[in-house]
């Protein structure tokens, strides 16, 4: 439909609402965050092994393995289709205006293209919506890694007061009242019951289908040298060499599942917006952070572990499809890859110990960017939009 001057607004005064409260954030960790130096040791070893050898699996990059699927939630066509339908259904939000796809839009790299994610009306989020590309490979979910599986992750945004603000008891009944959904749950799970656990399992099953594995890098790692242009190959060499990017952006998914404190700058916009302050304090409060009312920055992983080494540490994101998923970092502070590369090149944010200056030339920074854009961008995702019952 050609444009319109369709002017919608949510006018009116604030009214009191019953807010869902985020579930208590789990502090337990199955394994400690991996230290960057561990990745460096691995890279040194691999570099020694590859001298005179081929480029494939060099310096920590390797072919993407098969999608890991938990034994208690096997993939079936019926479950994936149910998950797809739920993913696009605005019923999952309290006011019926927001679906998972609102912030994880297939046409925006499964993000929303905004510095900080879309928010429930009258509230503001405080972190960037992450891409769902290859989310199946992540061992921990969210920027701070507070969920250990997609099944655990899926219900957080539904309940979050500043995201979808839905009540889970209510949404179960809402879906049970739709015959088509009852039939879909029966097809997916063998019985008609609609439960929050099943909603999460179906969403997770759909999300495990959102995989980028046909980028030029994949062909390059399979032995096709021409899959990358000369400029992109130069960027690849920097990525796995002087740039030390693959210290953390390693493996098939270009992520180490670790948490690193790069001391990314706080957004000046956040300091001005009381709604962001409210969100930050709310999350800190439900995370058991005692000084939540004076908290003026994002503590990152610390809110989960309470380990001071995790202060302002965030999970290493995948770089796959990175060209589609601007802006970057947990708070979207960098609008372009050029800005991100410059930040890493100068050794990250003030006081951090995870990075050190790289001394890249302008040409090297551009080569890195070329690799990230050309090498890691696969075919446009073909997501079929479901009919919502």
């Amino acid at each position: 439909m050609r444009s319109g001057s369709v002017r919608g607004r949510r006018c009116g005064v604030l009214s009191l609402r019953t807010s869902s409260v985020l579930p208590a954030v789990r502090a337990a960790e199955s394994s400690p965050p991996r230290h960057p130096s561990a990745g460096l040791r691995l890279i040194v070893l691999l570099l020694v092994l590859m001298i005179g050898g081929t480029t494939a699996s060099a310096a920590g990059l390797e072919a993407l393995p098969a999608v890991p699927v938990p034994a208690n939630n096997p993939q079936t066509p019926e479950k994936i289709e149910l998950g797809r339908t739920l993913f696009f259904d605005r019923r999952l939000s309290g006011d019926g205006t927001t679906s998972c796809a609102s912030c994880h839009n297939p046409e925006q790299g499964f993000g929303d293209g905004q510095a900080i994610s879309l928010s429930y009306p009258t509230t503001r989020n405080w972190r960037n919506a992450q891409t769902l590309f290859n989310v199946a490979y992540q061992q921990r979910l969210f920027h701070d890694g507070r969920a250990a599986s997609l099944e655990e992750q899926a219900l957080f945004p539904l309940m979050s007061a500043f995201e979808m603000n839905q009540n889970l008891d209510f949404v179960e009944e809402e879906l049970r009242s739709v015959p088509e959904y009852v039939a879909m749950f029966t097809g997916a799970f063998g019985s008609p019951d609609v439960t929050r656990e099943r909603i999460a399992m179906a969403l997770a099953a759909f999300e495990r289908t959102l995989v980028s594995r046909e980028a030029p890098l994949d062909r390059f790692l399979a032995g096709d040298e021409q899959a990358l242009s000369a400029a992109a190959r130069a960027g690849y060499a920097l990525f796995t060499g002087k740039g030390r990017c693959s210290s953390c952006h390693a493996g098939g998914n270009l992520a180490d599942d670790g948490f690193h404190a790069l001391n990314v700058p706080e957004s000046p916009e956040f300091e001005r917006d009381p709604r962001v302050a409210a969100t930050r304090r709310f999350v800190a409060k439900v995370s058991g952070f005692e000084e939540y009312r004076t908290l003026a920055e994002d503590p990152g992983r610390y809110l989960v572990t309470k380990d001071k080494r995790d202060w302002k540490a965030f999970r290493t994101p995948t770089l796959r499809e990175i060209a589609r998923t601007a802006p970057y970092m947990h708070n979207g502070i960098f609008a372009t890859l050029e800005e991100v590369i410059a930040f890493v090149d100068r050794g990250g944010g003030e006081g951090n110990t995870a990075l050190r200056p790289l001394g890249l030339t302008g040409g090297e920074r551009e080569a890195l960017r070329t690799f990230l854009v050309e090498g890691l961008t696969g075919p446009e995702p073909a997501v079929r939009f479901p009919k919502i019952p």
């Binding site: 439909m1 050609r2 444009s3 319109g4 001057s5 369709v6 002017r7 919608g8 607004r9 949510r10 006018c11 009116g12 005064v13 009214s15 609402r17 605005r90 006011d95 019926g96 205006t97 927001t98 609102s102 839009n105 929303d112 293209g113 905004q114 879309l118 009306p121 609008a335």
Partner: protein
């Protein structure tokens, strides 16, 4: 062209839409629009009637239009149109039919417009 999409969970959203259209009937749509969006605007019936008086409208007629929900059918049609084009978030832009959701800066909108212009020329 103006369409109304009052948010269903705000107490005064619908009546504010009625007020803007009732003021429009008396030639003061934009003046009322500005008052409605002013910081601290009081949007209950009494507040809206006070705005009408401030704008020099025929207050009796304005209040009758509000109370009679004169423009209800038009507003409901607008809401149905919004649903039909999957419009839920504010702001949402349609640039040559391409949907852009959320607050966007100049550079982002320029990029979309440039892409659409380039596509149109092909």
């Amino acid at each position: 062209m103006i369409k109304n999409v009052p948010y269903k969970y705000r107490d005064y959203s619908h009546i504010a839409a009625e007020a803007s259209l009732a003021a429009g009937d008396q030639g003061k749509y934009w003046e009322m629009h500005d008052l409605l969006l002013a910081p601290g605007a009081r949007l209950d019936r009494e507040g809206l009637v006070q705005m009408a008086a401030k704008l020099g409208l025929d207050v009796k007629r304005f209040a009758a239009d509000l109370d009679g929900m004169k423009h209800k059918d038009l507003i409901e049609r607008d809401k149905a149109l919004a649903v039909s084009i999957d419009l839920y978030e504010t702001p949402t832009y349609f640039i040559n039919g391409r949907k852009v959701v959320g607050n966007r800066d100049f550079d982002y909108l320029k990029k979309v417009i440039d892409e659409e212009l380039a596509g149109a020329k092909r």
